[in-house]
C-alpha cells in the first residue's frame, strides 16, 4: 500500500534551537501512524509543518504525491494538543464557523454537524455557550469539528487528554471507525497503552531526530530479547536458581506467583530454542508459567530514548 503522506528530510530551526533535523516519515494509506517522542522532541513542529502552520527550512512534505499546497488544508483534520473554543460563542455557531473555514457550505456543514451531534449524543448542546460546558464536553465538540469535513488525513495530538475513560473509549472507537472508512490517522501521544491498542506504524522522534520507525510488529520483533518469563515449582528453589544461572542468563521478575513458585526471567543465548528450555525445566519440576516477554511500546520507547541520549 502506498503512502498518503511523506516528509522528506524536513529540518526546522528556531533561532539557535534545532526543532527538527532531517526527519523523514512515510505514513501508509489507511494506517494509524503513531508519532511518538518525549516532550520537546519536535513532534508538534512536525505536525505544524504538515498543517502548513509553519514552513520547513529545508526538506518537503507531500500529500498523495503532491507537494503541500494551501488547498490541501481541507484534506487534513487537525486536533491540536493546545485546543480550545471561543468561550462566549454558542456551540452550534462556532462549530458552523469552524466547519465553513474548512470549506464546507452552510447547508452541508449544518447537516453533518447534526449527524455528529446526534451520534455523540450532544444534540441538545447546540445553543449552549462553551463556558457552560465541562472540559470533556468541549473536547467532544472539538473532535467533531476535526473530523467533520471527512479529511483524508486526520492528525490527533493527545486526543484522549481531558476525557473520562468512558468517553475516551467512545473517541477511540470513532477513530477506529474512521480508519475503517478509509481515513489515515497520525496519532501523537505519550500514552503508550493507546499506542499499543491503535497504532499499526510508529515513528519515534527524540531530540529533533527520528530514531526509530516502522511497523509496530516489526519493531517489536527487532526489540525482542528472547527472554521468557517462567514459573516453576521445585523442592529447592535456591539450588535450582543457582543451577539455572550457570546455564542461562537469569534475572528476577516482578511477576508474583499465585502459589509459592519460583519466578524468573530467562534469556536464551544463541542456538537455544524455547523447546530446549522448556524440556530442561520440565525435568526439574512442575512448570506453571512459560511466556515470551514481548517488548511493550513503553519498553521500546524508553530503550530507544536511552540509547540515543
Amino acid at each position: 500500500m502506498g503512502s498518503l503522506l511523506e516528509a522528506h528530510a524536513v529540518s526546522k530551526k528556531f533561532g539557535e534551537h534545532t526543532a527538527l533535523n532531517k526527519v523523514s516519515i512515510a505514513v501508509p494509506k489507511g494506517s494509524i501512524f503513531g508519532l511518538l517522542g518525549p516532550n520537546g522532541a519536535g513532534k508538534t513542529t512536525l505536525i505544524r509543518i504538515i498543517n502548513q502552520i509553519t514552513m520547513p527550512d529545508t526538506g518537503h512534505v507531500t500529500l498523495d504525491g503532491q507537494a503541500l499546497q494551501p488547498h490541501h488544508i481541507k484534506d487534513i483534520g487537525y486536533l491540536p494538543e493546545e485546543r480550545g473554543l471561543y468561550k462566549s460563542m454558542k456551540v452550534g455557531e462556532q462549530a458552523m464557523y469552524l466547519a465553513r473555514l474548512k470549506g464546507l457550505s452552510k447547508s452541508e456543514a449544518k447537516e453533518r454537524l447534526l449527524y455528529w451531534f446526534d451520534r455523540l449524543e450532544i444534540g441538545d448542546w447546540w445553543h449552549k455557550k462553551i463556558q457552560e460546558l465541562s472540559k470533556g464536553m468541549a473536547q467532544k465538540v472539538q473532535f467533531i469539528v476535526t473530523v467533520l469535513h471527512s479529511p483524508k488525513l486526520l492528525i490527533f495530538d493527545e486526543p484522549f487528554s481531558g476525557f473520562d475513560p468512558i468517553n475516551a473509549n467512545l473517541i477511540k472507537d470513532e477513530i477506529l471507525n474512521l480508519k475503517a472508512q478509509g481515513a489515515t490517522v497520525i496519532f501523537s501521544t505519550h500514552r503508550m497503552e493507546s499506542v499499543e491498542e491503535l497504532c499499526d506504524h510508529i515513528a519515534l522522534i527524540h531530540k529533533s531526530n527520528k530514531v526509530l520507525d516502522g511497523k509496530l510488529t516489526d519493531i517489536k520483533r527487532q526489540y525482542r530479547s528472547h527472554t521468557y518469563e517462567v514459573g516453576i515449582r521445585a523442592h529447592n528453589h535456591d539450588a535450582l536458581q543457582n543451577e539455572l544461572a550457570q546455564k542461562f542468563e537469569v534475572t528476577p521478575t516482578n511477576f508474583k506467583s499465585l502459589e509459592n513458585d519460583l519466578m524468573l526471567n530467562i534469556k536464551l543465548s544463541n542456538g537455544t530454542t524455547p523447546n530446549d528450555l522448556l524440556g530442561y525445566l520440565s525435568n526439574k519440576g512442575q512448570v506453571s508459567h512459560f511466556v515470551e516477554l514481548i517488548p511493550s511500546a513503553n519498553d521500546i520507547f524508553i530503550e530507544a530514548v536511552k540509547k540515543n541520549s
Binding site: 491540536p80 485546543r83 473554543l85 471561543y86 469552524l98 474548512k102
Partner: protein, 437 residues
Amino acid sequence: MNHLALIIQREYLTKVKNKSFIIMTILSPLIMMALVALVAYLSQLNNTKERTISILDKSALVQEVFEDTETTKFVVLEGMSLKEAKIASKESNYYGLLFIEDVNDIDTLSTRIKFFSEEPASLSIISDLENKLEEELTNLKMQEEGIDLVKIDASKVRVNIGQESFVGEKTSKVDSVVKLIFGGLAGYLLFMFIIIYGNMIMRSVIEEKTSRIIEVIISSVKPMQLMLGKIIGTSLAGITQFVIWIILGAVLMTGMSMIFGVELTQSNAAQQELIKQAMESPEVSMEIQNVLMAFYNLPIANLIMAFILFFVSGYLLYSSLYAAIGAAVDNETDTQQFMLPILMPLILAVYIGIFTVIEDPHGTVSTVFSFIPLTSPVVMLMRIPFGVPVWQQLLSLGILIGTFMLTVWFAAKVYRVGILMYGKKPSYKELYKWLKY
C-alpha cells in the same frame, strides 16, 4: 464564501452581539448627555447664587462706580469705622467687604485697597473688582492731569485686518477657527478610534490565545488572513458603534432642545430680542457671513478624500501594531511594556496638532510631523483644512502607506510566531528574533 469574509463576519457579529458592546453603544450617548445636562445645571446653579459685597469708601472717590449685577449686589456703608464695618458685614452675612482708605493721592490710594471676607474670595470676583477700580482710578488720574476723556474716547480706532492669500482667497480669523475645528475634530476622531478599537483588536487576539482556539483556526486559515479579518471586522463594528452614537446623539440633542428650547424662548424673550438686534447690526452679520464663507472656502472635496485615506491607513497602521502586541503576549497585564511605544507617538501627534498647528499650520514642526508616519495621520488631518499642497499630501500618504505595509509585514511575522507561543513574556530582543523564524 471565502475565509477572509467568514472571519470578518464572525468578528463583526460577535462584537456587535456582545452584551457589553450593546450596553456601551446605547448608554454612552445617554451618559454623555446626562453629564452635559448636569454640568449645565450645576454652572447655572453657581451663577444664580447672589452675593452681596459691602463697600466702605473713606475717600468717597469710587463708591459710586459699582453697579449691581445679576449675581453681585453692592451695599455702600457710611459713617462706620473699619471695625464696625467688618462686624456689620459679617452679621449681615455679606460675601465680603471692600475697604478703601481715606487718601487723596490716587497713586497711594491704589496701594491701600483691601478686601475682607470670611473665606478667601474667588479669583474672578477679585479681578472684577480690580478691573473696575483700575478703570475708574485711571480716569480720575487722567482728569487730574487735565486730559480730556471725551477726546480720548473719540480718537479710539478699531482695526480689523482683512486677510487674503496671494492668489486672492479671502481668509479671516473666523476662517482659521472653523478650519481648526474641522481639523481638530478629524484628528481627534482618529485618535479616539485608534485607542478604542485598537484595544478591542488586541483583546480579541489575546482571547484567541488564552482560549487556545488559535491553533485550530490557523490550521484552516493563514495567520495573515486571520489578522486582517480581525482588524476589518472589529473596525466595521467600531464604525457601526460610531454611527449609532451619532444618530442617537442627534436624536437626543433634538429631543433635549425640544423640551428645554420651548422654555427658553418663553422665558428669555428679551434676550431673543437682543440677539435679533445684534444679528441686524452690521458688525455681527459680517461675522456670520465670515463663518459661512469659511465653510464655503474649506476644500471640502480634498478634506473628505484626505480624511478617508489618512483615517483608514493611519488606523490600519496602528491596529496592526495592536494585533501584533496581542499576539506577542499571553494576557492583558503583559501588554504595558509594548503599549508605550504605540501611545507615545499618538499622544505626541495630538499635542503637536493642538499646539503647533494652531500656531502655524505650515511651520517646520507641523510640516515635519505631518510626514513622520506614526504622527502623520493625525497631524496631517489637522493641517489639511488650512490648505496643504497636493504633493505634500501625496508624499505623506505614500510614506504612510509604505510604513503601513512594513508594519503589517512585521505584525504578521510577530503574529504568526506569537500566537503559538505560550508561557513567557517576550522581550523586544525576542520579538526581533521572531522576525527571522
